[in-house]
């Protein structure tokens, strides 16, 4: 299973043709305490870069953009009652939604973990 990252600090972990999407540890740390997550709408078809979910910290609301195009096939309902999971486990239990990829070639434009780390170090 491979994990890819975007310059907007989302990650997508791909298993077969389904990707699990979340925000990176770096992004969670920058946001601070997450107090609300507006879940992605299951069944919605989204294009790469579309705002698909929303994460809110005490300070502000931020869009979560999908790193790949496809159909939303699941949302992490546990975040409704426990949004702090995003701070505690951004790159695992704090995932946002699952998406059925319509164009897997889009993954080629994303960063792997090593490249992403270098990218964050430069910010």
């Amino acid at each position: 299973m491979s994990v890819y990252f975007t310059e907007d600090h989302e990650w997508v972990s791909v298993d077969g043709d389904v990707g699990t999407v979340g925000i990176s540890d770096y992004a969670a740390k920058q946001l601070g305490d997450v107090v609300y997550v507006e879940l992605a709408e299951v069944g919605r078809t989204v294009a790469k870069g579309d705002d698909t979910s929303v994460v809110e910290s005490v300070k502000a609301a931020s869009d979560v953009y999908t790193p790949v195009s496809g159909e939303v096939v699941g949302a992490n309902e546990a975040l409704e009652d426990a949004p702090e999971t995003v701070n505690e486990s951004a790159e695992d239990a704090g995932w946002f939604f699952k998406i059925k990829l319509s164009d897997p070639s889009e993954l080629e434009g994303l960063m792997d973990a090593t490249k992403y780390k270098t990218y964050c170090d430069g910010l």
Partner: protein, 379 residues
């Protein structure tokens, strides 16, 4: 970044690991490593220390050396009654334009220190201070002088239930002050400060005006107490929102009068008529009489989704009735809280309204302010 001004504590903020952001022309700490949520809760539980040196401090002094002349001059510019201020007493008020719109809100104190009781001391918002000073210069009579103290004085706030105990360890006399009174006293053998029992968090606490040269030493002294943490502007905002206190440029501006903003209490009884003699008095009197105007209210969204500034407010039939002016997550409340303007007929606590968050209507209720009960020390 180089154009931003710095307070005398700037290097300390950076050394403490603060995240610095531009605010009202200053490079200010929005949060420290503790984070907004914990900083907020810490202030409500123990004591938070805020650098508010970006705010404008000034004195109004009459050439004839009397309090009466200075008070009468300022009473032409604010709705509050000033002439009846006792030495050591403080009031909240607003500068209004001719139409009664709010130019800024401010604290006005009559100094209590012997030989200085003819002087008025004002604290105004950072973002408005240049225009406030110009406004006063323009309207004060020639025999009343404005003395801006930004070049000499810093301002810090120590807020929270432990504040009296912490500051009292330096000089026990501060514990005798009650809410909205102030005095001048030494905190160390060489450090005299102006201390007021007030603040903008809803908690008990102090605002301390201290020389730029001394403020670092004072902050270091206060931080030695384990109950004290530095608190950034992020938590300052969530604390004042829960306390139902207006933020200039958001909840109040030139579009609203003090009456619409729910600040009726800050206009003393004999200052409520159209001929009270201050800029904007006609509007204040008209808005008191007219029940059809809008009104700033507390808004409690149902569920967990915060409703931010500029969120549209509708009645249950979908008609637009107003807009959120401050909104976010209240850490002490444990959920979303907001303030906004609604048409007067919806201003009653308990009114059902809906908030349009990202295109979707969400249920909310008009509630009484504050969200978190004030914890002021009134003796």
């Amino acid at each position: 970044m180089s154009d931003l001004k710095q307070t005398a504590l700037h290097a300390r903020h950076v050394a403490l690991g603060a995240k610095m952001v531009p605010f009202a022309g200053y490079d200010m700490p929005v949060q420290y490593p503790l984070g907004v949520m914990k900083e907020h809760l810490h202030t409500r539980e123990k004591a938070g220390l805020f650098d508010v040196s970006h705010m404008g401090q000034c004195f109004i002094i009459a050439d004839d050396g009397t309090f009466e002349t200075a008070a009468k001059a300022l009473e032409k510019l604010v709705p509050a009654s000033i002439s009846d201020l006792e030495p050591g007493q403080q009031r909240y008020s607003q500068f209004l334009n001719e139409d009664g719109g709010i130019l800024d809100d401010l604290m006005i104190s009559r100094l209590g220190f012997e030989g200085h009781t003819h002087k008025l001391y004002l604290v105004v918002n950072a973002g408005c201070k240049d225009q406030d000073f110009a406004h006063m210069q323009k309207h004060l009579p020639k025999d009343v002088k404005l003395d801006v103290a930004d070049d000499t004085l810093s301002l810090i706030a120590l807020q929270g239930p432990a504040a009296a105990d912490v500051l009292g360890a330096l000089n026990g006399a501060v514990q005798d002050l009650v809410f909205m009174t102030h005095t001048d006293l030494p905190l160390t053998p060489t450090m005299w400060v102006h201390v007021s029992r007030s603040g903008y968090t809803g908690e008990d606490g102090y605002e301390i005006s201290v020389k730029h040269d001394d403020v670092g030493e004072l902050v270091d002294l206060l931080l030695k107490d384990d109950r004290v943490e530095m608190i950034g502007l992020g938590a300052r905002d969530s604390l004042r929102l829960e306390a139902g206190l207006c933020l200039y440029g958001h909840d109040i501006d030139t579009n609203v009068s003090p009456i619409e903003a729910g600040l009726f209490w800050s206009v003393q009884k004999h200052r409520r008529s159209a001929d009270a003699g201050y800029l904007g008095a006609a509007r204040v009197a008209a808005d008191i009489a007219d029940k059809s105007t809008k009104r700033l209210v507390g808004i409690l969204p149902e569920g967990r989704a915060p409703a931010r500034e500029h969120t549209e407010i509708q009645d249950m039939d979908g008609n637009v009735i107003g807009e959120i002016t401050s909104g976010g997550f209240g850490p002490t409340q444990g959920g979303p809280v907001a303030m906004g303007y609604v048409a007067r007929k919806f201003a009653k606590a308990g009114s059902d309204i809906q908030l349009i968050v990202r295109g979707k209507p969400r249920a909310a209720k008009v509630v009484k302010l504050p969200f978190t009960a004030h914890n002021y020390f009134r003796g």
